[in-house]
């Protein structure tokens, strides 16, 4: 968890990056704290990698200021910043063996031969690849190469480590294992990790805070849970998790807010301090895993008659696809066991319902 919230380690102050006529990053402001694990997530082309590259000095901001430990670093060259990166391609040097790859950063800093060998071996030991010290990079598996790349970046004991989709080349099992390695390392070292990914599972599993980016802008910064349960924008609601989004108009705004949508009228307890008034357009977001499914009506306040379309089996969880009265898709996640008890046929009538506390209203309506 962040240890010091008052003085950010990294500060992006209205930073913009343009490539020719396209704006990759559009006036973002962001604080990254000492010792936190921060993920930047978004679809490809959202500007997340450019943001990371600006922090490393590989791209120069077109506008705005980037500070590291309170100092403006816009004009500090790449090699003079202590912002090591773990690359998507790993970028290990093929002409050097494992230990020499790890020693590289120390060599550049003028650390003596004996000292850098000792420190490199320490790191290989720590990442459990010390047996491969004298191997060539091409002789290692993907997971082992990953560990070499980590060791190479951490051997100089930086205050911050940048990770650019480092696990995207690994298979699913290995990803989970490496996630464990990364979070453990980050906690032990207490340094800041800035992790760029397009995969929700990676960002949510490891991060203290997650930044969601879209089209060069920051959509939301929150804890994984905050983003999952309270998406701030329609984009976040669509990008993260499995959410059902029903557009509508506010027709009653008391303790409960009632929304009229093409699929029916639903009630919602809004937790945010936004004041809703009658006639506001809004979107109602209900997470697929908070919805109950049954074959008969219970006449609950948020209930809708749907038609069962299909099921998608992914392990113990099944995603059911149903059709709302107005013909839109509606997703429900439930345990495989629960679904098999219902024994549904395609086209069968099903009733979906949810708690008013579990629905969430979006302000933006674009």
């Amino acid at each position: 968890m962040p240890t010091n919230h008052t003085q950010p380690l990294v500060l992006f102050d209205r930073v913009t990056k343009r490539f020719g006529s396209t704006t990759a990053v559009d006036s973002i402001s962001l604080q990254i704290f000492e010792g936190e694990f921060l993920s930047i997530m978004g679809p490809s082309g959202c500007g997340k990698t450019t943001t990371l590259r600006m922090l490393a000095g590989l791209e120069e901001p077109s506008e705005g200021e980037i500070q590291l430990a309170g100092e403006r670093i816009n004009n500090v060259t790449v090699s003079e910043r202590d912002t090591p990166m773990v690359w998507q391609s790993l970028a290990l040097f093929p002409f050097l063996n494992v230990i020499k790859n790890v020693e590289f950063g120390l060599k550049m800093r003028g650390v003596s031969t004996i000292e850098r060998r000792r420190r490199a071996l320490d790191w290989l030991e720590r990442l459990e690849i010390v047996d491969f010290a004298d191997r060539e990079i091409s002789q290692l598996s993907g997971g082992q190469q990953q560990r070499v790349a980590l060791a190479r970046s951490l051997v100089t004991e930086p205050r911050i480590l940048l990770l650019d989709e480092p696990l995207s080349a690994l298979d699913a099992n290995l990803v989970v294992r490496m996630q464990g390695v990364l979070t453990k390392l980050q906690k032990e070292l207490g340094i800041t990790f800035v992790y760029v990914t397009h995969r929700q599972s990676e960002a949510f599993a490891m991060s203290d805070r997650v930044v969601i980016m879209n089209q060069g802008r920051i959509e939301q910064i929150d804890s994984a849970k905050g983003i999952y349960r309270n998406p701030a924008t329609r984009f976040v609601a669509e990008f993260v998790g499995a959410n059902n989004i029903l557009s509508g108009t506010v027709i009653a705004a008391d303790r409960l807010i009632e929304v009229d949508t093409p699929a029916g009228r639903f009630k919602c307890v809004e937790s945010s301090d936004h004041i809703w008034s009658i006639g506001d357009t809004t979107s109602l977001v209900i997470s697929a895993d908070l919805i109950r499914l049954s074959t008969s009506a219970v006449n609950d306040e948020n209930e809708m008659e749907c038609r069962f379309i299909s099921e998608e089996f992914v392990g113990s969880i099944v995603t059911v696809l149903a059709e709302t009265p107005d013909g839109a898709d509606f997703r429900i996640q439930l345990q495989q066991r629960e679904l098999s008890e219902l024994d549904l046929k395609v086209g069968a009538t099903v009733y979906v319902r949810w708690d008013s506390h579990d629905a969430h209203l979006l302000r933006d309506t674009n």
Binding site: A56, G57, L58, T77, V78, S79, E80, D82, T83, P84, M85, W87, S89, A91, F93, P94, F95, L96, N97, K100, F104, G105, M108, R109, D134, E136, R152, S153, T156
Partner: protein
């Protein structure tokens, strides 16, 4: 199979014939088939043969070093510092010299390097010279560079263009400055291409006779000039074959060493 036949007909048989010929004899200015090691003993016993051998080796070595060093900044700039359009045009202009016969290019150098040539005229206008450049080692090297430099730049450029940009960024990211990255990362990555370019320079200048003959004044002789002299004096084709085989064996040795060096795994 066809490739084997092709190799045999155009490569192995001629070489074997050359080898065979080096054991023939010359009687009354005519070659007589035979099997006598006299040519080998005579040639290897001559001081001027060994002088020529080491000289040729030295010339080719110096040319290889000069060419590689001169070509690298040019290839580097074209690979990393210019736009793709400029790079394509540069590639085109590097190939243009090959449109013209090498001999013609060397003859034009004779005009440039002449005591009354344009270079000396220009130098004298600022009160320098005249420098005699023709029929000197300098002239020979100019000729070798004419032969080797465009090819070396093209070969180095191709290998530098294949250097993974991400590894350069990784080096910078790990605290390696721009200048140091050239030696710590870029040259090791482009090593094979740089060595191949050097091998071509060596082969071309080692066997070339045009430059040392027309720009270097043929004295002191290189091995290629020695071959011509030997065939002219008394129809000594067998002895010329001895020189030729020695050259071929030398080139093979150098080439294999260089390629082993290029592909060696460094640890």
């Amino acid at each position: 199979m066809p490739i084997v036949v092709w190799q045999l007909v155009f490569f192995v048989f001629p070489l074997l014939f050359l080898l065979l010929m080096s054991f023939w004899l010359v009687k009354n200015y005519r070659m007589v088939p035979g099997f006598d090691s006299v040519n080998w003993i005579k040639m290897y016993g001559k001081g001027y043969f060994w002088d020529g051998y080491w000289r040729t080796l030295g010339y080719a070595g110096i040319t290889t070093v000069i060419t590689s060093v001169l070509a690298f900044p040019c290839a580097f700039a074209l690979a990393f510092k210019v736009s793709p359009t400029v790079r394509r045009w540069a590639m085109f202009f590097l190939i243009v010299p090959f449109f013209t016969s090498y001999l013609v290019r060397i003859f034009s150098w004779q005009i440039f390097l002449n005591d009354n040539g344009i270079i000396n005229v220009l130098l004298s206008s600022i009160g320098l010279g005249p420098f005699s450049m023709l029929n000197t080692f300098f002239g020979t090297v100019v000729g070798y560079l004419t032969l080797c430099l465009p090819l070396a730049v093209v070969l180095q450029l191709i290998s530098l263009s294949n250097v993974d940009q991400r590894l350069i960024e990784a080096a910078h990211n790990l605290g390696c400055g721009s200048f140091r990255t050239v030696f710590a990362v870029i040259i090791p990555l482009a090593k094979i291409g740089i060595i191949v370019a050097a091998v071509f320079c060596f082969i071309l200048s080692f066997g070339d006779f045009v430059s040392p003959y027309y720009l270097g004044g043929s004295k002191p002789p290189t091995l290629s000039i020695l071959i011509i002299d030997t065939t002219k004096s008394g129809q000594q084709w067998p002895r010329a074959a001895v020189v030729a085989i020695t050259m071929i064996v030398t080139l093979f040795a150098i080439m294999f060493t260089a390629i082993a060096l290029a592909y060696r795994r460094r640890s």
